[in-house]
């Protein structure tokens, strides 16, 4: 008798399909339907750097507890790709379920004898119902969603509702989709052991007013709300959809109703060098401008980033990180561009980084970055990654305060110049390291200056004098100090009991971290957590580290880049920070974090026992 995994609202279904087959939208339909039943889901695309014909997976984690990180493991595999079939079968947890197209008989038992096999002749059903090849392909996807709905007790009415929203004015498409859905559902009800399926979805009330969107779309929308009017970019996975989103929302909200003209400019540049150059030119000239790219793009932009740092020009750069180095893993996730972004360019440079944890913060931080860049007159990076950027994620709804105004920073106006206010482009009148600038064309005789990447004095005049250079460099450091108080502050999550053990994490690690903290507590291990949301680090980061005997730094790269930056920037002893590193290109899991921290805590306990023995 094969064991049967039993779980309600807490399991992982993985779809193994072929990219370009239309399965992605069917799979998202499946995920959304569960969410509509009030049960939190977190889907993840695992896709190749390819357009058509390569294996692709879609993993849906169902978690009534609201854990949105990747769990790891697979309770049910929807194995529809012959290319990867054997490996997919091996991945199923013991007692789990294999759902496959049984049109052609596959001796699954020869692969595994510890999983439950559910065969459905999908191709045969399709071929009997449809004659057109494209229809056969597309409706096959809907048919398996219908069958899964029957097996998992997904409310088919929710799926029908989703269809009716999607095909609002396309009755024919609506009808044919509903028909396909029922074809699959009816077959499953009649021929499969639906009652014997141990995984079930049950209506709950855990979704609330959450929205479901990916981080890239959210970032693009954030740039619209933040007032970006110029976007220059060059396509690169996984950042491209940031600009597509900006384009989509601009077309909707920024088109002049009378003239049809655009209150925005988007230029697809010839490369990343040109895209960052355009952003710098536009910002220099007083428009809000941004670009979106990924690690290799940042490498190309590095020279210009040094210019923006030294000439003090606002830049908003959305970096959707992928696996590096070099071309690396274009369609896998990592947090491995921290150092390359924080210190991009030659000479002593430092840049502001923001670390959003989810689409909500992607929206907030993208809008905030435009303000910060203007306020600080320097590049500001929004450090997304593929996991947040390209996977739709449940998150809090977007909010906007209509009384909020864009912070354009210190810009001297024509009136102020006319009134005789002293203007020195690099003259620190307020002591915060931030100086006044003028936009080109401001005043006929006052306020013009020459912007350059060479050293200059307070009045923007070229100078290679040592003291002048040092004065300017120290002011830039002062400005970076000012930035610490302006960037999003770290957020602390205290364990339910006082503890000397802490963990620092950031960005997309957040959902898995939160789940791991719960898991550790159930094992009797109490850990305080600090989520760092920006660089430069706020003083409370050091306070947190000083308040704990053991501090783990969890990150998704090989070299513990955040840890390195913490040690260097905060003057810490490296022994204070223990790295926990996950960097195989898949999103970090709670299981991984829990195991890594629990095993190390066990070691610490052993050593303290030895001390007692002495």
């Amino acid at each position: 008798m094969i064991k049967k995994l039993k779980a309600t609202n807490d399991f992982v279904v993985k779809f193994a399909t072929i990219n370009g087959s239309g399965s992605a939208s069917a799979n998202e339909l499946f995920a959304r339907a569960i969410m509509r039943m009030g049960v939190p889901v977190s889907p993840r695309n695992i896709f190749p750097s390819n357009i058509q014909g390569m294996p692709t997976w879609y993993e849906v984690r169902v978690s009534e507890a609201g854990y949105l990180g990747r769990r790891g493991g697979c309770d049910m595999m929807v194995a529809l790709n012959p290319q990867t079939f054997d490996a997919d079968v091996r991945e199923v947890e013991a007692g789990g379920y294999l759902f496959y197209d049984s049109t052609r008989v596959i001796p699954v038992a020869s692969l595994r004898d510890d999983i439950n096999v559910i065969g459905i002749p999908l191709t045969q059903i399709c071929n009997e119902a449809y004659t057109d090849a494209r229809e056969r392909q597309l409706f096959k996807n809907i048919i398996y969603v219908g069958a899964l709905a029957a097996l998992l007790e997904l409310d088919h009415k929710e799926i029908e509702k989703l269809f009716s929203e999607q095909y609002r004015d396309k009755e024919k498409l609506l009808d044919s989709n509903v028909k396909a859905l029922h074809m699959g559902r009816d077959y499953a009800l009649a021929h499969l052991d639906c009652a014997g399926m141990g995984l079930k979805v049950r209506r709950a009330n855990k979704v609330g007013d959450s929205i479901f969107i990916d981080g890239n779309q959210a970032a693009g929308l954030g740039c619209v709300y933040g007032g970006a009017s110029v976007c220059a970019w060059y396509p690169i996975t996984p950042s491209t959809s940031v600009v597509e989103s900006f384009q989509k929302y601009c077309a909707k909200f920024r088109t002049d109703p009378d003239t049809g003209k655009r209150n925005y400019a988007i230029v697809q540049a010839e490369d990343e060098l040109a895209s960052i150059g355009m952003v710098i030119g536009a910002s220099w000239n007083g428009a809000r401008a941004f670009t979106a790219t990924s690690g290799p793009g940042v490498s190309l932009m590095t020279e210009f980033l040094g210019l923006a740092y030294f000439a003090e020009i606002p830049v908003t750069l959305i970096n959707v990180q992928r696996g590096g180095p070099s071309t690396g893993m274009p369609s896998r996730t990592q947090q491995s561009d921290l150092i390359s972004c924080a210190y991009a360019s030659n000479g002593d440079t430092k840049h502001v980084l923001l670390f959003p944890q989810d689409p909500k913060e992607s929206f907030d931080f993208s809008a905030a970055a435009l303000d910060l860049a203007d306020r600080l007159q320097t590049p500001v990076f929004v450090m997304l990654d593929l996991d947040i950027g390209m996977n739709a994620r449940m998150c809090a709804p977007f909010e906007w305060d209509d009384s909020k105004r864009m912070d354009r920073g210190k810009v001297m106006t024509c009136e102020e110049l006319e009134a005789g206010k002293e203007f020195g482009r690099y003259l620190d009148v307020d002591g915060d390291g931030i100086t006044y600038r003028t936009y080109p064309g401001t005043h006929p005789t006052k306020g013009a200056f020459f912007t350059r990447g060479t050293t200059k004095d307070h009045y923007a005049r070229y100078s290679e004098e040592g003291p002048v250079y040092i004065d300017n460099m120290e002011r830039l450091s002062r400005k970076f100090e000012t930035a610490k108080e302006l960037v999003p502050k770290p957020l602390e999550r205290r364990a339910s009991k006082p503890t000397k053990c802490g963990v620092i994490h950031f960005g997309s690690t957040s959902p898995s971290m939160n789940e791991a903290l719960d898991a550790l507590e159930t094992q009797g291990m109490y850990v305080d957590a600090l989520r760092v949301r920006a660089f430069p680090f706020h003083s409370s980061v050091v306070d947190f580290i000083e308040a704990h005997d053991h501090v783990f730094v969890v990150e998704q790269n090989r070299d513990a880049q955040l840890r390195t930056m913490l040690i260097t920037e905060c003057g810490l002893d490296s022994a204070q920070l223990t790295p926990v590193l996950h960097y195989d290109g898949t999103p970090i899991t709670a299981r991984f974090i829990t195991n890594a921290i629990a095993s190390r805590l066990a070691l610490f306990n052993v050593s303290s026992l030895k001390k007692v023995a002495q």
Binding site: A282, A289, W400, M406
Partner: protein, 351 residues
């Protein structure tokens, strides 16, 4: 004499233009280039052209890359905002600046190293996009600041001061600009003020991508007998297609040239170019003919100068991407931010 600060005072009787500026108001700091550098003559021509056109200096943004030529913007239009960008990247910065505020006049100054070597890509793409600008290359075929290496515009077979022969084929930026869709393409010579000033004036009034390649001998590294970019060589091989007279709208057009040798071009803004033809079969409206003419004379070892091509009804990047007439840098929250009500609707669509 570069260590001497330029006196701010000027003679009270100095002639002013229509907006009350003297020629001096268009000057910049004293040049630190070598005495006799062709680039200084080009700077002087820019000063004269802006004075003649009654342009307010602060309504010009001057941008450059890196190199001797890119230092030049310091020496003209002191009342304009300037931007010395990074090597070979002026075109992208200028493009961005232009996107932000379509109301200013954009003057890009570059050199042959900056535009034909490291910056060839950005040069090409700014021409393709039709950025509304005047793009001047001060072309001496040599790297001056790093002491005399060949640039990509150096002719094959020409000799450096040290006697090295250039074996690489040259990049002809004029040919490229024509091929890439620039709507105003000219070549001139720094030593020919009479030809250069009206060309710059016409380019500044042109509402599209205007490119002028100005041969500008490097007196220090490239003004010797083996060079094809020396004063003597250019004067001997100059084959002008036309002499240009430039008239802004409303000005009386003189008739000092005999009809039949004149070609009039009315630009989009109403300004008139009168091309005094030296070459009867030359038509400055014909892009293909311009390309042929250029190549034909190149084969003969001649340097064609003058206005090679002009589109009298050009379009620019802003037209192509349909931006509003208001400069983007002047748009406020009302135009830019959709507000909370729209966001609520977006939220609702994401559930």
């Amino acid at each position: 004499m570069t260590y001497i600060a330029k006196p701010k005072l000027h003679h009270p009787a100095l002639r002013t233009n229509k907006i009350g500026y003297t020629r001096r108001d268009y000057e910049g700091a004293i040049s630190t280039l070598c005495a006799g550098c062709g680039h200084d003559s080009i700077s002087a021509a820019i000063v004269q052209a802006c004075f003649n056109l009654d342009i307010e200096p602060h309504k010009v943004a001057k941008l450059s890359g890196i190199g001797c030529s890119s230092k030049a913007p310091t020496y003209f239009l002191g009342g304009s905002h300037g931007f010395n960008t990074v090597h070979g990247r002026m075109p992208s910065v200028l493009t961005g600046a232009n996107l932000a505020n379509r109301e200013l006049t954009y003057l890009g100054v570059s050199g042959d190293g900056d535009s034909a070597s490291i910056g060839l890509g950005q040069f090409a793409h700014s021409m393709r996009r039709g950025v509304n600008m005047t793009y001047i290359v001060m072309n001496n075929g040599v790297y001056g600041l790093t002491k005399g290496q060949f640039s990509a515009t150096a002719d094959q077979g020409s000799k450096s001061k040290k006697g090295v022969t250039n074996s690489d084929a040259p990049v002809d930026l004029v040919a490229l600009a024509l091929q890439l869709g620039a709507t105003f393409v000219a070549r001139s010579f720094s030593g020919d003020k009479a030809q250069l000033i009206p060309l710059i004036e016409a380019a500044l009034r042109h509402e599209g991508a205007a490119f002028i390649d100005v041969l500008s001998p490097c007196v220090t590294f490239n003004n010797h007998s083996g060079s094809t970019k020396s004063y003597d060589y250019v004067r001997e091989h100059n084959e002008a297609v036309n002499r240009i007279d430039f008239f802004v709208p409303g000005e009386e057009i003189t008739t000092e040239y005999a009809p039949g040798t004149l070609q009039e071009v009315t630009q989009h803004d109403g300004s008139v170019l009168r091309l005094r033809k030296l070459n009867e079969d030359y038509d400055a409206h014909d892009r293909v003919a311009a390309m042929n003419h250029l190549q034909k004379h190149h084969a003969l070892g001649e340097i064609v100068t003058g206005l090679l091509f002009v589109d009298s009804d050009p379009t620019d990047l802003h037209t192509h991407i349909n931006t509003v007439d208001t400069p983007l840098n002047k748009l406020g929250e009302r135009a830019l931010c959709p507000g909370s009500a729209a966001l609520k609707k977006i939220n609702a669509s994401l559930r």
